[in-house]
Symmetry: C2
Subunit: 309 residues, 2 copies
């Protein structure tokens, strides 16, 4: 199975309890599935598996090798945490977004109560899946720490979201926590799964995450709802830090390109770098807002050429 199929299978395994109405109320089951299926690009879990593949040592059947299924379970946990953050982020008290991935958001379809509980349930489920993944117990502790730091109030996703409630916040501090922390956790997890040193991957993941956030800001500013599959102009509407308002649109585009270059430069030595370069190419191609690529079709081709250089 390819990476996308392994991720979907792991997510299906993780949510299979939703079919048991004795343990999960039907409304919550439906809302949790709605939050997870069909997904977006599954960027974060595919980053985990791509980095794991890039770091895989040759020679099958290595004793310390973690089975593909267990790797996919770990990747699925990261995706569930991302989905949880989208569900809560769409709530009326944050973005008040009725649309997500071109469909009704969870609170629009199921009500706010179930949206809050769906996010909570997905967070717990992610840790449950991680805890039960067939990885050595010694690795479990460090993976749990990686994930908690990526999503929690201590410099992770939750902290990033909470910076939006502060009067003053540096754009980099905000982006680092809101988006980069989870990409960084994903890259670290991939290295951990293949027994590679995690330190060298932190910088790579951080640059990817920052790039993603700048691209998200550009899209929020330049794209429309039909392209985005969610409301546009949310940052201006909520008076939130946005790379375009701070750097200007050209400045933000320059910064996006610089961050992607820096990510490639930060790519650590590993047995199969091409496996993660392929992921970065796909990632880069998705980042440029359609409004820009329509005017300037070579934008992401340059980036991919840079990556190949």
């Amino acid at each position: 199975m390819g990476i996308p199929e392994r991720i979907e299978a792991a997510l299906e395994r993780g949510l299979s309890f939703c079919e048991m109405p004795s343990s999960c109320p039907p409304g919550l089951s439906a809302a949790m599935r709605h939050a997870v299926f069909p997904g977006g690009a599954r960027l974060r879990p595919s980053l985990v598996l791509s980095v794991a593949a890039a770091c895989a040592r040759d020679g099958d059947g290595d004793e310390g090798e973690i089975a593909e299924t267990a790797q996919a379970d770990v990747a699925a946990a990261i995706e569930l945490l991302h989905c949880a953050s989208l569900v809560h982020d769409d709530l009326p008290c944050f973005d008040d977004a009725a649309v997500r991935r071109g469909r009704p958001s969870v609170h629009a379809a199921f009500g706010q109560e179930l949206a809050v509980l769906t996010g909570d349930g997905l967070i717990v489920l992610a840790f449950d899946i991680l805890a039960q993944a067939d990885v050595p117990a010694s690795l479990l502790r460090s993976m749990l720490r990686t994930v908690a730091r990526g999503v929690g109030a201590q410099g992770g996703l939750v902290a990033g979201q909470a910076w939006e409630s502060e009067r003053t916040v540096g754009l980099r501090t905000y982006h680092k926590a809101k988006t980069a922390a989870l990409f960084q956790a994903g890259a670290r997890l991939g290295a951990e799964l293949s027994g590679a040193p995690v330190g060298p991957w932190a910088e790579f993941g951080a640059r990817l995450g920052e790039a993603y956030q700048v691209a998200d800001d550009l899209r929020d500013t330049l794209d429309d709802e039909a392209n985005l599959g969610k409301p546009a102009g949310q940052d201006a509407a909520h008076d939130r830090p946005n790379a375009c308002s701070v750097l200007g649109i050209n400045g933000a585009l320059d910064r996006l390109r610089a961050l992607l270059d820096q990510a490639v430069e930060a790519l650590p030595t590993c047995p199969h770098p091409e496996r993660v370069v392929a992921w970065v190419e796909g990632f880069g191609a998705r980042l440029y807002p359609r409004a820009v690529t329509a005017e300037e079709p070579s934008a992401n081709h340059n980036m991919v050429a840079d990556l190949r250089a």
Copy 2:
């Protein structure tokens, strides 16, 4: 240190990162601390530590023995999950409660955004603390599963809350998930921490949890906001299942007493049962609504006598 002091110290350790504004935004820090300090009775973590003490084998310095600090960390994790559920439960889309423990609820004091994030952050923090607790890696996996099942969408607290969004639900299914699952997890964790078999403690924890929920329903029906430290009459206002509306007030009081008796009968054989009986006595004394104990002051004394019998 006694159990209450150990719990407070562990909670302080867990939330110490809130003092570092570089990783946690000040508003979120303040809201998370507000959700946790000062606490209520800390019933769930003290259950964990009381069961662990009851199951402790004599002879200090046993090799498999888990340090008191690590035990308190595990107990603190359970309390943080309970606090998270209160913060989300108070949100306008659920109870819309402006008051909790006699003070403004988190959303009343800090706004809904930070209340949602506080709950999310506390859930992640609980799993982080569990993962880092100084317990053998082999025990970690089973404790994480115990906790996830206690709070998650699969028969845990989140499932219990979500039953409120269903048109039909059995009272026992609802209470079992909404309240009993976490008490059950607490009792199991206590046994796990002392290396005792967990199976026999499940029934005990379940009965305690059901008793708590019936008492909560009685208080919601009979008490007023001044006594409760939170709004009364919420179940009727939200048309939610309540033991009093199903069984009548006398029926609910009978059921509460029966559940406490059943809990005591279900107490497994262990080296120091008196340590957990003391906890049950304190628990029982707290359960009777003040409106009832004022009229019928012997109510909980009878129960305590039953427990001692």
